[in-house]
Symmetry: C2
Subunit: 116 residues, 2 copies
DNA sequence: TACCGGTACCCGGTGACACTGAGTAGCAGG
DNA sequence: CCTGCTACTCAGTGTCACCGGGTACCGGTA
């Protein structure tokens, strides 16, 4: 993926992870796998863990240590009230930005996908 | 605007400016004004000029000095071939990201909040 | 003349973020 | 034993938007 992605992900990756956690609690290794699954093949573990530590220190998630039979104990993150609110703000910012960018002079090649 | 915007704009602001330039050449002061016009009220001149210098050094734009009757000469930036290609890549990255984010859970709250 | 405000551009420093590349540790199987 | 998977950690790097200044040119007003 283009180098542009790296910069674009700033700010959005956080929201993406928060959104994943809003569905159900998860731990770092799992989140990394799920991100890869969803197409973000270039995102490595180190990035995700650093992000998780950040949102933990900001108080957006609650953490529970759960033993694993296959390795070190898992740190399971679950979104709390503050995190939910922050995620909400993320969606508002995203909606704003996406709207403005959607209005930019189109590059001709417009692809519309009728939603399933 | 939320602090989230600052991070979200990283990478995208560049694309936004490039997209503006793809429509027609423009100079810094004008671009700043146009951004404000389009809702990016928090973006200050310094940010735009720094960005313009960057994309100039990367060879995405051609620059022409045009005298102004109202102040210092204008540096008019116009997108060149490399810039066009880079902008194209920006759109691809954006489409990818917007698509993934669109698939995230609990995105359904695209209420517009007016009033208050 | 002296000053103010609009036009137009530039710069050094800051904080935040994703990335790099390495490391620790537990467990299972060849 | 040693590889490979699971699972987490961490110091250092580069890039970006932001901050808060500054320079300079010009027209209008007091």
């Amino acid at each position: 993926m283009a180098k542009q992605m790296t910069e674009m992900l700033k700010g959005t990756l956080e929201g993406i992870v928060l959104a994943i956690l809003s569905e159900q609690p998860a731990y770092g290794y799992e989140i990394t796998a799920r991100l890869r699954d969803q197409g973000f093949t270039d995102i490595v573990e180190g990035t995700v863990y650093a992000l998780l530590i950040r949102i933990e220190q900001r108080g957006f998630v609650d953490v529970t240590k759960v033993p694993s039979e296959k390795g070190p104990p898992r740190k399971v993150y679950s979104l709390n009230a503050a995190g939910t609110e922050y995620l909400d703000e993320f969606w508002r910012s995203w909606a704003f930005l996406a709207d403005r960018i959607g209005r930019l002079p189109r590059h001709d090649r417009d692809q519309k996908e009728e939603g399933s």
